[in-house]
């Protein structure tokens, strides 16, 4: 009986450990894929001064004790991680599956890996949004989205009246913005960890260094 309990406990511990590994590695894998695919597609949005991003990466690697500076590191890390994702903006994965045409944005594939990692982490965690500054940042996101949406609605009405076209891409824009908001939501907690932040930023740093040396 005792042995059964111990065996079950060990099983659960192993499962928990695997979940944690996946939770940690999936976002890093997602960023790696984004960097790889961007490099392979010859970097659609040219990074004219990659040195700036490389220097910013060094800022992330410094272990800081001050809370405001750590929040600043989070924001910079999020930016550095999102740039390769942005490079995939207009690229899609296309395939034919029986009678269905599959057309998925590469950015969505990257996001789905991060979401999977987030959901695995949620199974183990009960963190609730409490930090005032993080609440303000999230409210900043919501305000930004509202501002963009209001502009879209106004412009759609005006352009429809004058030309009947010109506003077709607004939904794509909104989709892109929601993608990055979701990315922020799923990475927000993980980026609070100094270790995770440092590790995940190493991937785009290598990417920017490669861009610098290959002059792409």
């Amino acid at each position: 009986m005792k042995e059964k309990v111990i065996a079950n406990t060990l099983k659960l511990q192993r499962l928990g450990l695997m979940l944690k590994i996946f939770e940690f590695c999936l976002p890093i894998l997602a960023v790696f894929l984004a960097c790889y695919m961007s490099f392979r597609s010859e970097i659609p949005i040219p990074i004219k001064k990659p040195v700036v991003l490389i220097i910013a990466s060094f800022f992330i690697l410094i272990p800081l004790k001050s809370k405001p500076l750590r929040i600043l590191q989070k924001i910079v890390a999020f930016y550095l991680v999102c740039v390769p994702v942005n490079e995939l903006a207009l690229q899609h994965f296309q395939a034919n599956f029986f009678l269905f045409d599959i057309n998925i944005s590469y950015s969505a594939i990257v996001l789905s890996l991060c979401v999977l990692g987030y959901l695995l982490g949620k199974a183990n965690s009960t963190n609730v949004l409490r930090d005032t500054e993080v609440i303000n940042i999230v409210q900043g996101w919501i305000l930004a989205l509202v501002i963009v949406i209001v502009h879209m609605v106004l412009l759609s009405l005006i352009l429809k009246r004058f030309y009947g076209y010109g506003y077709e891409r607004n939904l794509n824009v909104l989709g892109n913005l929601c993608l990055y908001f979701l990315l922020f939501t799923v990475l927000r907690e993980k980026l609070s960890s100094t270790y995770f932040r440092q590790v995940i930023v190493l991937v785009p740093t290598a990417f920017y260094t490669l861009v610098f040396f290959t002059n792409r």
């Binding site: 001064k49 991003l53 500076l69 999102c82 207009l90 303000n136 900043g140 502009h151 879209m152 824009v173």
Partner: protein, 424 residues
């Protein structure tokens, strides 16, 4: 700077730090006076000189203050940190994203110049005004200086346009910059003056409000003033005052219509229209807004780089007509931020807005709770000025050199009012 930043975020009320010396505070007040009052002159008399645009009186006052503060910090090292003078973290985050966006610029000089001016005012200007405002008396002095500045600006504009028949907007050569300047400061100052117990101050507020509306050359100014005054009417509880200010607003707008045929009002009349001069095409401004939204599809995070929107925006018109009739500085500040620094830049800017708006609103509720007339007056004026700045940002950006100073002033007024009332 590093040691200042490393102590940033500590609880400043419990940090053992010497207060600023009296002579330094007087120096700050003097430089603040120079910066605020001379902001009315904009870049006059050397409008086209790039050097003067960088070293105009407000910018020079801020630069001088940075130098003085640096020397003071070195001399008082360990006794004084100055972190309480720094802006909120959101401002630093916004500047950080601006700096990161430089990675995507082809014109490094332009991006650095833009960020330099932004940093100068957002940090240097913020620290200058923070140093000057340490009590309710100094708050009132700053309000007096702001009122003086706006009176000079509006009075000269009215004289120039209706008296001399010139095309300029007083000391401003551009109606959009003038509109943002007055659209932000006028609601701030008039709400402060209207809440005075003296009839002469209320009369001055009424004259200022009506005069500014008549002198406006842009839709942005009218929108900002209307929204600011409407918000004021909602926030204050006295019906008599509400009726007075709404009447003044309607009087000003009515006079604009009455003076419709006057040459001085023509730019405003043209700016309000939805169409171009041909009467067929949509005004280029709105097509530009759509182009900036289209830009976000491709460059959602990277943007075009700070200050470099002109390099890319014409690529995103797609099927919409490019008429090349967009006037200088006719730029939606919200969309320009998102186009230049990406969605994260806009988020950080909105973070600034969220933080300071919460602070400003909490001051009004605190003032109502403690039932202090003076506190209520300042709190309401701060809040109204902030709303007006957000509205003015719609037609012409608050980020422009020479205009950013008023936005920073409002942030500091909110922040220092919070600090002063907190200590009381």
């Amino acid at each position: 700077m590093i040691s200042i930043i490393s102590t940033y975020g500590q609880d400043n009320l419990t940090t053992v730090s010497q207060p600023m010396s009296k002579w330094l505070r007087l120096c700050a007040i003097a430089l603040t006076g120079v910066a605020i009052v001379s902001s009315a002159l904009h870049f006059w008399p050397f409008d086209s000189s790039k050097v003067w645009q960088m070293l105009c009186l407000p910018n020079s006052a801020v630069l001088a203050w940075i130098l003085i503060l640096t020397v003071y910090f070195i001399l008082k090292r360990g006794q004084w940190t100055g972190t309480s003078l720094l802006p909120h973290l959101s401002v630093f985050a916004y500047l950080a994203v601006n700096v990161l966006s430089v990675a995507f610029t082809a014109d490094l000089g332009r991006a650095i110049s833009f960020i330099g001016k932004l940093t100068l005012m957002l940090i240097g200007g913020y620290m200058l005004f923070s140093s000057a405002i340490s009590s309710i008396k100094s708050l009132c002095i700053v309000y007096g200086l702001a009122t003086t500045a706006i009176l000079i600006s509006v009075a000269y504009c009215l004289l120039a346009r209706f008296g001399f028949g010139t095309n300029n907007f007083g000391f401003f050569d551009n109606p959009y910059k003038y509109g943002t300047y007055t659209g932000t400061l006028v609601p701030l100052c008039t709400s402060y003056l209207f809440m005075s117990s003296r009839f002469s101050k209320r009369l001055l507020a009424a004259i200022l409000l009506i005069g500014t509306l008549i002198s406006s050359g842009s839709l942005g100014a009218v929108i900002a003033i209307t929204i600011g005054i409407a918000a004021f009417a909602v926030v204050i509880k006295r019906w008599f005052l509400r009726i007075c200010i709404i009447s003044c607003l309607l009087c000003g707008i009515g006079l604009i219509f009455l003076l419709d045929s006057n040459l001085a009002v023509v730019p405003l009349r043209d700016d309000i229209k939805l169409t171009e001069e041909d009467g067929i095409n949509l005004k280029q401004r709105y097509i530009e807004w759509q182009a900036e939204l289209n830009l976000l599809e491709e460059r959602t995070i990277t943007g075009t780089a700070a200050g470099c929107i002109n390099d890319y925006r014409s690529n995103f018109y797609y099927r919409l007509p490019k008429l090349n009739t967009l006037k200088a500085f006719d730029q939606n500040g919200w969309l320009a931020v998102s186009a230049e620094t990406g969605i994260l830049g806009l988020v950080c800017f909105c973070w600034i807005i969220v933080y300071y708006s919460k602070l400003a609103y909490s001051q009004i509720t605190t003032a109502n709770r403690i039932a202090s007339v003076k506190v209520n007056r300042i709190a309401v004026a701060n809040f109204i000025g902030f709303i007006a700045a957000c509205a003015a940002n719609l037609i012409s950006s608050v980020h422009y050199n020479g205009i950013l100073i008023v936005f920073v002033l409002i942030l500091v007024l909110i922040s220092r009012t919070n600090r002063i009332f907190g200590q009381k």
